[in-house]
């Protein structure tokens, strides 16, 4: 059974050093920060966010639907004006564009929710309210026999507080 440790750090460089050390020792961990900091991102070296794929697919679906609904309804109930096309793609570009933005934007937000695993029902495990205030945090998950070493590493690099989580 795996257990966890929650560590709070006051300084960003201390947090980065602790992250590097935990990576070397192959621990699973989650980092918390009051605001996005590129220093931490460089230390964690996370994979690229897949949000962009959702944006692309959503935008393409939106523009397709926007054009389709305008063209299909025009053909279904034609408003015949001499010399004018029944379905005219130039004005329908406005509908296509607006629906592309709408569906693309909502898909982007949905992608953030899905990939960040929110909404979360329980927000307390492996978390401390200090991490939304001013402190940085690291939550380490490991087998019980490795926790002592993890705690020593966290304290060595400047954790001001380390507590256990089951």
């Amino acid at each position: 059974m795996r257990r966890g440790l929650v560590a709070a750090f006051r300084e960003i460089d201390a947090t980065c050093d602790a992250i590097e050390a935990l990576k070397k020792k192959k621990y699973d961990f989650t980092v918390y920060m009051p605001t996005p900091r590129h220093e931490i991102e460089h230390a964690v070296e996370p994979p690229m966010s897949p949000v962009r794929r959702f944006t692309l697919i959503g935008g393409l679906l939106g523009v397709t639907f926007g054009y389709w609904v305008a063209v299909w309804t025009s053909e279904y109930w034609p408003l015949v004006v001499g010399g004018k096309a029944i379905a005219s793609w130039i004005p329908y570009t406005i509908i296509g564009f607006e629906v592309m933005v709408l569906v693309g934007a909502l898909s982007t937000v949905a992608a953030m929710f899905i990939n960040s695993r929110i909404p979360k029902i329980t927000a307390t495990t492996g978390f401390d309210p200090r991490f939304t205030h001013g402190d940085y945090g690291i939550y380490v998950e490991a087998a019980p026999e490795r926790l002592k070493e993890a705690e020593a590493t966290l304290r060595q690099f400047g954790a001001i507080d380390v507590r256990g989580e089951s």
Binding site: E11, P34, T35, P36, V51, P91, I94, I95, T132
Partner: protein, 480 residues
């Protein structure tokens, strides 16, 4: 206040420390959360806003009961205060997304402390604007006819009509800007949740924050989402007022049928929105004691944007006259002569003075850094931009091709009451917003505060409690 004799202050873009009066992340939380406590002044302002809203609501009910004849419409002027005010509020709604999205993509530092206010303003302004076409059609219960939905009559809206484009543009804009506002608020709501002591409020904030925890994966996806939302919102901002301008430019009416309308409307919308941002942010920074967040440097930078858009709008006004002259079309020429020297000269000169001449004062650095002047100027800009739409709509419709068709226009008390009510409705929502949710973006302000480092802990710049010492007055940036 700075005088001309003093050396120039560093521009915000070159300042090493953007907010010298803010020491650390904890101070940001404490200062912004302190603004959420209701005060007597806030209750008084909310009372006034609700009273104005009720005036407008009563007038609308009266109009629904007695009919649209109670608005000041008189042939040939069948678009009046409602359409003017619709375009006015849509325009106001442009600055929010400009500041939050376009300036985000351009990495303009001065946006950080004002964008939340501008975004909320956008949502409430578009909510206000959306009411006016519904009021204008006279039978608000028929509004749904504009929306494409499957129905047993097999009838669909005409997608070649600019009014249907408007429905798509405005509803997309309202949805995307509300989403942008809400997702930007999620990390800040999490801050409020973790500081809240009232159990009921804490529960509500916990639901609204969706269990956000400031973890690295959350921030990573959040930042990517924010970038793409900004990238989508940028052309959306430009498209929405372009589409609104098509309501006019697609018609053959003199003064309307011009290809310059989309950029002219977009520039005007951004200009009016920045005017309203000043109207809102200057009292907020004073009454909420946020002068060290929304600094004079920020106002100075925003003033330059205001000056720039004013000059674009002024250029568009002058080009309209030039195009009318160069076209050789007698009706166009007559219309533009009539605009400034005819029946509606007073409205045109209010527009030209407020939008072209007064903003030139912003060439003075002293005035750009004077919040009192910026507030006064913003009121003139709001008035000038409302009259810009009046000048576009009323003189054109009252002075079309045939002299026997010419007519006049005078708003009725119902028009004026609904106009006043729209301000009450807008400010009511805004005032409710600023006491429930942070008016300055907590997480983004923290981004521009220098983080704590171990070198500080060794005695450099930290006090006994481990917090940053205040920056000295020699620190580049605002320190008034």
């Amino acid at each position: 206040m700075a005088s001309f004799a003093e050396p120039l202050r560093p521009n915000i873009a070159s300042a090493d420390v953007q907010l010298p009066g803010v020491r650390d992340y904890e101070q940001v939380d404490d200062d912004i959360i302190a603004t959420l406590k209701p005060t007597k002044g806030w209750f008084a302002a909310l009372g006034v806003a609700i009273a104005l809203f009720l005036v407008g609501a009563a007038a609308w009910i009266y109009q629904i009961y007695w009919g649209l004849g109670n608005a000041g419409y008189e042939p040939p002027v069948m678009w009046g205060v409602y359409i003017i005010t619709f375009v006015f509020w849509v325009g106001i709604g442009h600055a929010g997304t400009l500041i939050s999205a376009i300036l985000f993509l351009f990495r303009a530092g001065f946006r950080t402390t004002i964008y939340r206010c501008a975004e909320a303003m956008t949502v409430f302004a578009v909510m206000t604007a959306g009411l006016f076409p519904i009021i204008h059609i006279g039978r608000p219960w028929k509004f749904f006819w504009l929306i494409p939905y499957p129905n047993w009559r097999l009838i669909w809206p005409n997608f070649k009509s600019p009014l249907v484009w408007d429905v798509f543009a405005i509803s997309t804009y309202l949805t995307v800007s509300s989403t942008f506002l809400y997702v930007g608020l999620i990390p800040d709501i999490a801050v409020l949740r973790d500081r809240e002591t009232n159990p009921l409020r804490k529960k509500i904030l916990a639901i609204l924050s969706l269990g956000w925890r400031n973890s690295e994966p959350e921030w990573r996806h959040f930042m990517k989402m924010y970038l793409f939302l900004a990238a989508f919102s940028t052309p959306l901002v430009l498209s929405v007022h372009s589409v609104v301008s098509f309501d006019f430019a697609m018609a053959l009416t003199p003064g309307w049928h011009a290809t310059i309308f989309p950029p002219y409307f977009v520039a005007g919308a951004i200009f009016s929105g920045i005017g309203m941002v000043f109207t809102i942010i200057i009292p907020i920074r004073k009454f909420f004691k946020l002068e060290h967040y929304v600094t004079i440097n920020h106002l100075d930078a925003a003033s330059k944007l205001c000056l720039f858009t004013s000059m674009v709008v002024g250029c568009a006004y002058l080009i309209e006259f030039w195009v009318a002259w160069y076209s050789g079309v007698a009706v166009e020429q007559e219309y533009f002569w009539n605009r400034v020297f005819g029946e509606w000269w007073w409205a045109a000169w209010i527009m030209l003075t407020c939008n072209m001449i007064f903003p030139l004062s912003l060439f003075s650095q002293k005035l750009r850094r004077n919040p009192t002047w910026l507030f006064i100027l913003s009121i003139f800009i709001n008035i000038g931009m409302w009259f810009e739409r009046f000048v576009i709509i009323v003189p054109s419709l009252s002075h079309e091709f045939e002299p026997w068709q010419w007519g006049g226009y005078a708003p009725s008390w119902v028009d004026v009451s609904i106009l006043i009510g729209s301000f009450g409705w807008f400010f009511m929502w805004f005032l409710l917003f600023i006491k429930q949710l942070p008016v300055v973006a907590i997480a983004e302000v923290k981004e521009i505060i220098p983080p704590k480092l171990r070198s500080h802990a060794r005695g450099h710049g930290l006090d006994a409690s481990g917090h940053h010492l205040p920056y000295g007055t020699e620190t580049p940036g605002e320190h008034d």
